[in-house]
Point group: C2
């Protein structure tokens, strides 16, 4: 009986992995350095060993493993299980599914990091039991994943859910992606810090100082009424609310899940976001919509990766 | 062997219906006045008879019918098959699925008009063989439907694909839906005519005249280089292109299908729309995307309605 699944979330710095039961319980987890300097074959070889040790350490023999899911940060050919390009790791054209299946002799599925995080939250986190949701991660960048009628959406090339690059300001600043005024240029942690630095450079009065700028400091200053911090947070919330309004019209989800470092602000972010969404969203599509915080933190990735197989790619 | 399906597209004025083979061939079709003054029971009773006659006339006995799909213009509880509110017909809380199944003794599915039109194009029209597409109908209003990985998306309350109410101009005019600057206020036939009328009222020089304003006239004047018409068409195309750019990020479809009266303009609309989309859309998500005209005209509705069952609600 193959009843256990392993999920692996590969990042530029570390690989998080978890052994999970079919019903979504985490039985064991581990974190290893990615050591990207070893190149794809070296990293994959360690991945193979680390996953076996994870199962072994939990007293699960490898023939009880039903499959392994892998979340990867970059461009993938998901159906064929091929890494096209991973920016952080410098991998190009790596048939990772084939390599891993050969080594492990179990089915392997891959998907991008934002998608597995969304699937993790949908399966075992803040979206448990919800069929239609959008998960938005506000971190260094802004990522997203869409679950529609229980299915993780990919679109033609796996880019469905790329909500961070929705344009929110035609007169805004240029994004890393080349476009102008993406959501990411206003609502990521990086964007909040950039806007605060600009205000400080302009000599505006604020408790914020150039030395200790972070999303956390900005939200904390906002909660205390600092005008610069409040203005920055308001701008991010306005852009987020308009994006959720658009997503409601396209997908009509019942829940938005907000995660990532910026979401650690909690109610200081969520309460005004709910208010702004209420104003921006169209009457029909906003009824019954909940905006909630993600629950799984940085475990969402490996949990969702395991879910790629454990949920039977529903 | 139940191998035939009937699709019915209920409008405020007429009901179009078709008898279809499992593989999507239209074997017979008919159009009847809706006669909404008879109320739901009257209209439903005639629908029951008309569908039976359609099968009969084509030499198909009723026990060869595998099911009937019905497209309806309004607010529906789709899973339960209940009409909540049809604006045009004035129906409220009509358990139409139950009534029709009782009368016909075959499975009945309902869905809204924009969704069945999208499904029709996906199944037998301009989206045949394509798994990820968005269908946008530019008519009196702007409607839409989304097929993602072969599935018609509904979202929580069936409003997925309501792309006509995506905000494209925060300083725009008020839409019927109550919001400001929806796509519908710029790119519907109604909007084109409104903008032309405003220009004429302002005394601007144009070949357009208040007496014969239509989307068709406006596109024809645009093709001849009329500055007012060109400006109006450019505005509509800009808003449409930005909307397609957003949809590409959310859904990453491989094809956009443009239908409705405004799409009759053909290449005068499509060519500049493709160019504008190329500029507006993000590099990753626009690769390989096609923007094409709908193929089925006003038969898309009944074809898609039949498809609700014939495609096995894939």
């Amino acid at each position: 009986m193959r009843k256990y699944y392993i999920g692996i979330d590969v990042g530029g710095t570390s690989m998080k992995m978890g052994l999970m039961s079919e019903s979504g319980e985490v039985l064991a987890e581990a974190e290893h350095l990615t050591q990207k300097e070893d190149g794809p074959d070296g990293v994959i070889a360690r991945m193979v060993e680390d996953a076996k040790q994870l199962a072994d350490g939990a007293g699960i023999s490898w023939n009880q493993i039903g499959g392994v899911g892998v979340g990867l940060p970059g461009f993938l050919d998901i159906p064929n299980g091929v890494v096209k390009y991973l920016t952080n790791l410098g991998w190009r054209n790596v048939p990772i599914k084939e390599k891993l299946e050969q080594a492990w002799q179990v089915p392997v599925s891959i998907d991008n990091d934002a998608n597995v995080a969304a699937l993790g939250e949908a399966w075992q986190g803040a979206g448990k039991g919800v069929d239609d949701l959008v998960c938005i991660t506000l971190g260094t960048g802004v990522g997203g994943g869409v679950i529609a009628e229980g299915h993780l959406l990919h679109g033609m090339n796996g880019f469905a859910g790329e909500v961070g690059h929705i344009q929110v300001d035609r007169e805004g600043v240029r994004c890393n992606c080349g476009q102008i005024g993406c959501l990411e240029t206003v609502a990521s942690a990086t964007a909040l810090v950039r806007m605060a630095r600009e205000a400080i450079d302009q000599g505006r009065e604020t408790v914020l100082t150039a030395e200790s700028l972070s999303a956390r400091e900005i939200f904390s200053a906002c909660a205390k009424g600092d005008p610069v911090a409040s203005e920055i947070v308001a701008k991010a919330i306005d852009a987020l609310a308009r994006t959720l309004a658009v997503l409601s019209l396209v997908l009509n989800p019942s829940r938005f899940i907000i995660g990532g470092g910026v979401a650690k602000a909690g109610d200081v972010l969520l309460n005004p976001l709910r208010e702004a969404y209420e104003k921006e969203a169209q009457d029909n599509v906003k009824q019954g919509v909940e905006i909630v915080l993600a629950k799984l933190g940085n475990r969402a990735g490996f949990i969702g990766a395991a879910g790629l197989l454990a949920r039977g790619r529903k």
